[in-house]
Symmetry: D2
Subunit: 347 residues, 4 copies
């Protein structure tokens, strides 16, 4: 059994980790920390876990994290980088769901997250936890920076187009029009995500710039091995879970004869968590609700020069906690789908 | 033109007052205060008001409230009682949307609101602003304590049963099972009213006791002229606006031949904002959305001994801002429906 | 492996059966019928099942239902009673999610469902599939009439009060104020359950009479061994899944000293799917979302004479498909929780 | 007073017309037809209109439509063209909310709407009812084809860019990523718009082709006086009202110095129903809820070559009924804002 610790289990990615890990056949939940809720039963904060999780929160100093095999950080940005060195030194693997180990360029990190990076050497070692792109590196990683929710959908959605040696589309002018449920904003007391503000309403936000842009650009460039240009426009959808990314790319004249459906199917052949749907499909976010699946549909309206790629994922699963568990499975050499084969909940 | 000031215009009842008053034919919006937003255009906080309201917030000290004819308090409990004396002395009428002037017994007020009452003499003078019950007193009032949202629906729903000299129902065992949209909780940054918490979810709350219980009991006893016993169970509905109160009362043996439908229709004859629907109706909250109407249906399932009264209102209009404007119209001797004849927005 | 057939798998209880059974460790999905969708892959209708269910719908005549060990009917009322005899004769067990085998009095059935009962002898044999009440009978049953969604919550919510030899509450005046998400209305094209009609809205319906009333009354009387009187008022909540029943009962003078919390805890001791919550709790529907749990909280406001029992369940799981699987587990002598231990999905 | 008739008043655009016209100071509601609901009070179908509309539906043959000054068609496609000739002959003006008089090329109409056009001569005469583009023509029109909801937002959103003599953007590669609430699908009993299907869910639809594409292309070309190329991807948002269009356009090298904010502000100067918001704004759909306003924000992320134009409108008001009333006001020479100055309902 893998002994697992969770730092910061009171937010949405934390409770989702608990849902997945408590039912994972090879995991023993060992410690969960929360400074504020020290001593409180996890199931008292989240009655959904009554009967499934008997752990209590403990303050970070008391929790014996160094006795774990792996520790997940479901914390605000900045926490994981303060604690990673000690854990790694103790032989504990680290999986960070926040942004501390995503962006390789510390200047870019500082610009977007407003804090200096405190351990550039560990950052350099850290592996970006996107299994469908980075599986080999994840196998041997000691520390993982998990992709953000939007970046997961954009990178997997564009990957087949960019992974070819010769460009197929105008890579300088990619447009990602993305829509997310409000759980993406976390379990924070804020006015703009109140039901009375966000329900029966729709808006764009962060058009000027969003933290997931530099992360995604870095990822797409790593896939392409070339510079790319991306415009990313996020929107807030009055729903709880789910991301729908509508990706646009202009086909280059020399690539007009490409069979893009086949390109996508081949690219993801054998991937159990990526589902390339039949031509003409319109994937719905609910078709992946509460599951680790990501579904993609490839459209070329009117046979013209514009590709429209539709991608859906559950932002809390494939976009966060589920992807973390997937990485853990890979890191510990167990079945990649262990504890992750939930059938989506519909309706 | 009536010169109107608003203290605390940044919450939901504040913006609803602005929506109603900005289009009121006899009102001149004169001042709106917010300590925090001093100098900010109201329409910058609420773009829905762009083109309709040109006022800016001003800090309470700068706002010339004493030059108004009437001042609305859309503030937390405790604010109105601190400022009322000065305004009344200056000849300004006061309408408080919070609880400062609702409960006549200061000990009860203290128990439920956790603060002593600072002006019991003004409290004694204050009139409870429920026009369908108290119209005459409102006409000559200098200061109004507006009913809470739930209490409005319960009092108008039970009034015809209790207003008779001889009891018709078991008045010791009234049960009000009430359901409210989340705007009733106000525009406050809190976790439990986040969309990701409250959407696709339903729960009761405050079963042990809710501040609207003593207010409602006081109101029902005033209507009946007798002691009554009420159990009030509020629930949170995943919607923005609207209250649906399902009221139960056991018919006394001697009242079995009463025509309750006729009783309700007669009681509210001539009331423009109370609509007694035809027998068998199930009023929906959306049928009063954004309007000052309250609709009632009277049921006697299977012709048995239990009355089931269904009441719907928009908690921000008839349950708050609209009722305030209705009181203002009465106090200033103008048409009671002025500025309040909006047709509900459906769908 | 238990060979399972499903008749009518295109509705919500059908797809929920598929979600549960496809992941059930002891089940082999063998046949699923739909006259209209003959030949269509189940996963083409419900993309959420892609990768999990490879079956296609087949028309009822082609499906080899008699080769199954058990057949579930997720069909409109009237279908199961037309096919049950043949299946039973072939040694196949039958579990009906509709109402054909719920109500023992055929006259009552006819009155509420508008059709004569075609096999009163099988009806007599049928067992009411509420395991926490009827477990022993279910063990040996050949045919099960599964409770409706509302009746499950009302019966389990009232059971501890009624199961005592001496009445504890006024059993002639029980009041159940129930609230359901719209999936309870099924996957039928109807105007009143459109999102544009039902969202941001709340209403009561069927106050005059609802089919779940006679079923619940029959069940409560069976539990009590006495006549009871119930008023049932259902309401429609703008959410997908979930039922919240707020149950009222007046404590009899001789029962005032009862410890009702203990009564409930003892009554359900050892039940894995019924969770009596700590005193003062307000269970939320989302705390059981997509799971077979039912949670109960017991309130006695102000220590008075009125009990308020709060019950939540997922109408499609414990209120339908999950309860069916639970019965199947019992009937086939396997672990009662097999395939049913999903942790609720929150948020 | 203008005598107004409505054909087909039972759908969402019909009831919205009633909400607007019943409170219009210069309108006398004269007739409303529905074959199916002949004799039923309008307020019995829509209780929100109780106390505001006393008309009953009458069957088309009985309704004295030829005595009206203007008749609105809130009907399925094909109805208006069957009745327009007779009304026009009687001197009645016609405003069609469906598509019969939108598309000038009858072959295109036939392709997308699956029916031949029965009165090409009237179609030729008909004016496209987009006041901010076509005000002069509307003044003298006898018959109006009102724009669709999506096309209104796309045309007004792109108009300032296209109306210049020299192209500013790559007009061959316009991308409109649009999102609509479900009331856009009308009040029709269909499975895919049930709350249990569409709530807590997000999806694209019609990527292959949507009827609003040819209409919008025609409109944009009329504005530009040049051929344009548009990709239009509609999405369904789990909300009732509102459209949010995110429009993309690539700035041409020679236009890089354009002040696009000023361009938009100047273009719409004096338009009371189009609000160009300050730079950096993210308009929300609720900021125009239940009002005839359309709000636009202009973004140029990172000062790059891609323009992102955000447009919001209420699909039932500026996208349908409200625009119809606006046209009527223009046609009858009265104040363009008469009956249309509602302040948006927020929250």
């Amino acid at each position: 059994m893998i002994k697992v610790g969770i730092v910061g289990g009171t937010g949405y990615t934390g409770v989702e980790l608990l849902r997945l890990l408590a039912a994972h056949p090879e995991v023993q939940l060992t410690a969960i920390t929360s400074r504020k809720e020290d001593g409180m039963l996890v199931a008292d904060m989240y009655p959904s876990l009554r009967g499934h999780v008997s752990l209590a929160f403990s303050s970070p100093d008391k929790a014996k994290l160094t006795e774990c095999d792996v520790v997940f950080f479901a914390t605000p940005h900045g926490v994981a980088m303060a604690q990673a060195r000690e854990l790694l030194a103790a032989g504990v693997k680290v999986i960070d769901l926040a942004a501390d180990f995503r962006i390789k360029d510390t200047a870019v990190f500082e610009k977007w997250y407003g804090m200096p990076h405190s351990c550039p050497d560990i950052l350099e070692e850290a592996v970006y936890g996107l299994p469908e792109v980075n599986r080999e590196a994840i196998k041997n990683a000691r520390i993982i920076g998990l992709p953000g929710c939007y970046p997961t959908s954009m990178q997997l959605g564009y990957a087949p187009l960019l992974a070819k040696e010769k460009p197929l589309v105008n890579e300088a002018m990619l447009i990602a029009d993305c829509k997310s449920g409000v759980s993406g904003a976390g379990r924070k007391a804020e006015v703009h995500t109140l039901l009375a503000e966000a329900a029966d309403n729709f808006k764009a936000y962060g058009v000027k710039g969003h933290r997931h842009l530099p992360e995604t650009t870095q990822g797409l460039q790593a896939i392409a091995g070339r510079k790319i240009g991306l415009t990313f426009v996020p929107h807030l959808v009055p729903m709880i879970r789910g991301i729908h990314s509508t990706l646009y790319a202009t086909i280059l004249p020399e690539a007009r004869n490409t069979d893009f459906q086949a390109l996508y199917e081949n690219h993801f052949k054998g991937e159990r968590f990526v589902d390339v749907m039949p031509p003409g499909s319109h994937p719905e976010t609910r078709s992946v609700r509460a599951s680790n699946k990501l579904r993609i549909a490839v459209h070329q309206p009117d046979g013209g020069d514009l590709l429209v790629i539709l991608v859906v994922e559950d932002n809390l699963v494939k976009g966060a906690a589920g992807q973390g568990v997937q990485c853990m499975n890979i890191m510990f050499g167990i079945e990649e789908g262990a504890g992750l084969m939930h059938i989506p909940v519909l309706p």
